[in-house]
């Protein structure tokens, strides 16, 4: 993907965001933010019944083109994916996927959604552990 293609890719997702909006029955609602340029993203995560993969994911947010486009792109990337695979996703992989040449001066904007999704997964697992402990007691 050359620079212009990367820009078109980002603008398409910014102007026509996928999976934008609240998700009914989300297991986790996780807000995230980037103080560098004022971007905010909230991830809504619904985990599959077996507790091991993303059944549905959506986002809401405001901010710069890169942060909002990246959130849209991420939701497409991870729907149906095992949680363990998302654990392995590296911020650098995300930057490469978005187009390093375009986003390299705004790495925090580019990785905000991924970081927020990872935080959502951590919260999901902690909630599961807590629910298990409550059931035992």
């Amino acid at each position: 993907m050359d620079r212009q293609e990367a820009i078109e890719f980002l603008l398409d997702h910014y102007q026509h965001p996928r999976n934008r909006g609240q998700l009914e029955n989300a297991d986790v609602v996780m807000p995230g933010g980037n103080p560098g340029c004022g971007d905010v993203v909230t991830i809504y995560l619904k985990v599959g019944e077996a507790g091991d993969h993303v059944e549905q994911v959506s986002f809401e947010g405001e901010g710069c083109t890169i942060s909002q486009a990246a959130a849209s792109i991420l939701t497409e990337m991870v729907t149906g994916k095992p949680l363990s695979e998302i654990d392995q996703m590296d911020f650098n992989d995300m930057i490469d996927h978005l187009g390093r040449e375009v986003v390299n001066t705004r790495p925090r904007c580019a990785t905000l959604a991924l970081g927020t999704l990872k935080a959502a997964i951590t919260k999901y697992r902690n909630d599961q552990i807590r629910a298990g402990l409550d059931a035992d007691s």
Partner: protein, 285 residues
């Protein structure tokens, strides 16, 4: 605009429309959102990004003389070019870029009053075509860090001085210490909240109207004068990283004509993280 102390530093959208093909004028778009320029910009405008172009990539500082010369040469800007900055967010980043240009003494730097928002609101032409200008010859002096830039230890001295004014241009909640960033923004970035002792609170955006143009000379004079920020004083403005305060610096220096105004770019991210510096906090929560 005629009542301002230096009306020549502001141009309006009609002026820009009339000078789109003027070889002595270079339009420079500087935004917070790095991809806005790619979505459409004023025909002939070049982009200057505050991160990639104006900051040092390693040290927390600005570019040096050599990089500045190369940057301007690559944009087809010579020492005699009239540079007109404009951008998003009430020209917040445009005034920041202008302030950096002034660190190197660029002679003729102006702001498009109303910025990108006003140009678009008037339905004027935007293009996605990126211009390619032949390299220009630019010779810059060493960066002047004394005249319009302030550092932490100088600010510390100002706390004890008379005849000076410190202006905190952040939001009231940041000033009080309730927040360490703007409302609706995440609360990160500094270890302590509050403001520099003796600083008065005048949020930067109070200097502009709803259409992003600057308020009148009289309105601005009242805004700052009512808080004791008057032209007889040495003034230092600060915010979080020196971007919002560059906007206030521009207003005080050029629109109100204050003779001595500096921007403390270390601002709250330096002050609020420094060990042992005094802080006032009015928030009692």
């Amino acid at each position: 605009m005629a009542d301002y102390a230096h009306p020549e530093v502001l141009v309006d959208t009609n002026w820009v429309a009339d000078h789109l093909n003027d070889p002595n004028v270079r339009l420079v778009e500087s935004n917070e959102d790095i991809l806005l320029y790619d979505q459409g910009h004023i025909p002939g405008a070049v982009k200057i990004d505050w991160v990639a172009d104006l900051n040092d990539p390693v040290v927390r500082d600005y570019l040096d003389r050599e990089r500045f010369e190369k940057l301007l040469s690559s944009k087809g800007i010579s020492n005699d070019t009239t540079v007109v900055f404009y951008g998003d967010k009430n020209n917040w980043w445009a005034t920041y870029a202008l302030w950096v240009f002034k660190l190197f003494g660029h002679k003729d730097a102006r702001i498009l009053n109303g910025g990108r928002a006003k140009w678009i609101a008037e339905g004027r032409e935007l293009t996605r075509e990126v211009p390619n200008y032949p390299p220009a010859k630019y010779v810059a002096p060493e960066r002047d860090d004394k005249t319009i830039r302030a550092f932490r230890d100088e600010v510390k001295e100002y706390i004890k001085k008379s005849g000076v004014a410190l202006v905190d241009v952040r939001s009231p909640a940041e000033y009080s210490g309730e927040r360490t960033h703007m409302p609706e923004y995440p609360q990160e970035g500094t270890l302590r909240g509050g403001h520099i002792p003796t600083a008065v609170s005048i949020p930067w955006a109070q200097a502009v109207r709803e259409d992003s143009t600057f308020k009148s000379f009289e309105e601005l004079q009242e805004l700052y004068g009512s808080k004791g920020v008057t032209p007889d004083k040495d003034v230092i403005a600060y915010c979080r990283i020196g971007e919002r305060s560059s906007h206030t610096w521009f207003v005080l220096k050029y629109l109100l004509g204050f003779p001595k105004v500096r921007n403390y770019d270390g601002s709250w991210t330096e002050w609020g993280n420094s060990v042992g510096v005094p802080i006032e906090k009015t928030y009692q929560g």
